[in-house]
Amino acid sequence: MSVVTRTNLASAPSRPRISAHTRRQWTWGFLFLLPWIIGFFAFQLLPILFTFFLSFTDYTGAAEFKLGNFNFVGLQNYKSLFVELDALPSMGVTLKFALIGIPLGLVVPLMLAVLVNSRRLLFSNLFRTLFYLPSVIPVVAGAIIFNGVMNAQSGWLNLLLKAIGIAEPPRWFTDPTWAGFALNLLVVWGLGNSMIILLAGLQGVPTELYEAATVDGAGPITKFFYITVPMISPVIFYNLTIGVILAFQFFVPALLIGTFNGNPQGSLLFFPTVFYREGFVYSKMGYASVLAMVIFVVTMAATGLLFFFGQRLVYYASGETS
């Protein structure tokens, strides 16, 4: 009864009728979405706005957060970014890590995927499993393992390098030139996800394309660059995006191995390490908020650029662009 009356009220002459069914759909639908909507506001949107707000204050975590315990300092924290000792060099460390890590993270998993996709590889399932295995190892365990295996004297990597004739292999975590790259290798070691996604992409390329190319006399390298790469470009693009996002957030193994000093000689002092140290060890939350904003803006800008250019470069078989 009540439903009928309400529908009648709602159906004002100018507006389209919203049926009881639709209304029920909306109620239920939004009810189901509610957990995420609340979570989005409470744990993501409002905190980001709040970080932005904090970046203009001198709030320290030492006192409870309330008016009177902090002052507005305008752009002071943003100026500190260029004055404080560690901020700019650590930006360089993170940038170098990203510039090496992102291409490495595209190429190595792709080569592994091509390898395990080869029909000439015997026991390819076993290979796939074992190549993936490092990805399930917890990041702290990974840091312990790499700290050991890349030890300049006793580590197996240098023993191997010496065995194949490299007399003086890099001293990895004790050499500022190589320490960052050692962490790049640690990350590449755990990129099983990318490999699996690329593998699925490779398996989705229609075999007729290769057959047609063979008829036209194309060799394996031509086929790879003119058929495989364009056909799996959406997957490459996805991996690239995730890789860029994670590169700018990376710091945990560096913190574990290089401590807060980024040993050796600041070469492992990543930008997010400085953020963590300033915010939670030195409790300079206002200044740390600036560092957080930098990470946020750089990530957003990078993904924005990627999507802007990606839409042109990525080939979508179905002709859609999303």
């Binding site: 639908g29 409870e64 957060f65 390898l115 365990a141 957080a292």
Partner: protein, 363 residues
């Protein structure tokens, strides 16, 4: 029947050599590719070999010159109730013989021949330090017991299991509800909401953690598990996306039939949709469990100083820097920390790989 005809047709027309050539070439290609694969795999598994070997051997073995890379101890020979170390001693004809040293001196040594113990102890020429020690495989558990005593591993495991378990339950409930909302209901602005959801994947955790820390400390939740558990009950983009992709592939006929029977949407979800979505739900369960198990930054921030509540990841963090002092113990903790994820992975590989493919390819 058919095989016989095809063979009899193929065999007499071509000479044996020409028939074999492509087979040999294919076999060689397979061997080549597999060999190359093994080489790459060897490099990939080098760190794992290293950590396992280091965990099972005594630290003293690492500094002993001439000791093998695998866990080993010097082989000994029991002569009249005493153990004596075995060496490969060079002989005059250029070969070697196995001898146990009873009394080592500088230029000569008293030795006994294990193959002829009846000869008794005799003295031979040569510096024993130049002789090659004989080792036998001997894994040691000392590092594990040391590590187990140094940090309270049972407590760390219990904490990690509880954290990961509760958080996974929360994530499953929330993400299933949200994914259901995104797949089965016509809602105004649904596409926009979905774009917002997906774009939160980009969000760096650093951008939100200071305000969240302030919020949780105002609530008195810091140094408890609540900041780590409660957000899990509000869904996350990755897992919603994965479950949604799967829900979309489930035909609507069944839930429409249930709707005609008068079932409400919640009922349809629990009795029609969820039973058909086990692969996606398994994948999310594994992923999220691993995610929490690996988490380091958030538990460190929220639990700092409250050691009783530390999960494995934070609890063993100290072992990274003590590596140079106690390599074996550090390696043993790493092995302990990765044991459970590795076993789970081997047991549930298929669901694992499927889940990765859903999130990655179908975007």
């Amino acid at each position: 029947m058919t095989t016989i005809t095809s063979v009899s047709v193929a065999s007499p027309t071509r000479p044996l050599q020409r028939r074999l050539l492509p087979i040999v070439r294919e076999a060689l290609a397979r061997l080549g590719v597999t060999g190359f694969g093994l080489l790459v795999l060897g490099v990939f598994l080098l760190p794992l070999g290293y950590v396992l070997s280091t965990a099972f051997k005594l630290d003293s073995q690492m500094t002993t010159i001439g000791a093998p890379l695998w866990p080993a101890e010097q082989a000994t020979y029991n002569y009249e109730g005493e153990e004596y170390p075995l060496y490969n001693v060079p002989t005059q004809d250029g070969g070697t013989r196995r001898l146990a040293i009873v009394n080592p001196y500088r230029e000569t040594s008293d030795v006994v021949d294990p193959e002829h113990p009846e000869q008794g102890v005799f003295n031979i020429e040569g510096r024993w330090r130049t002789w090659e020690a004989i080792y036998r495989f001997s894994p040691k558990l000392k590092n594990f017991t040391d590590a187990w005593e140094q940090v309270n591993f049972p407590r760390l495991f219990r904490n990690s299991l509880l954290l990961a378990g509760i958080s996974t339950i929360g994530t499953l409930i929330a993400c299933i509800l949200v994914a259901y909302g995104f797949t089965r209901f016509q809602l105004p602005g649904k596409n926009l909401l979905f774009v917002i959801l997906i774009s939160t994947i980009v969000l760096p955790p650093q951008a939100t953690i200071i305000p969240l820390y302030i919020l949780f400390s105002k609530l008195g939740w810091t140094q408890t598990w609540l900041p780590l558990l409660v957000p899990a009950f509000f869904a996350n983009a990755y897992d919603v996306f994965l479950i949604r992709q799967y829900f979309m592939s489930i035909p609507r006929e069944l839930d429409e039939a249930a709707m005609l029977d008068g079932a409400n949407p919640l009922r349809i979800l629990t009795s029609v949709i969820i039973p058909q979505a086990t692969p996606a739900i398994t994948a999310v369960t594994i992923f999220h469990f691993f995610f929490v198990w690996n988490q380091y930054f958030e538990p460190l921030v929220y639990l700092l100083g409250k050691e009783k509540l530390y999960p494995v990841s934070v609890g063993i963090g100290q072992f990274v820097t003590t590596f140079s002092t106690y390599p074996g113990r550090s390696a043993a903790t790493a092995v302990l920390a990765m044991l459970l994820p590795a076993v789970m992975f081997f047991l549930a590989q298929r669901q694992f790989m499927q889940g990765i493919v859903i999130t990655g390819v179908e975007k």
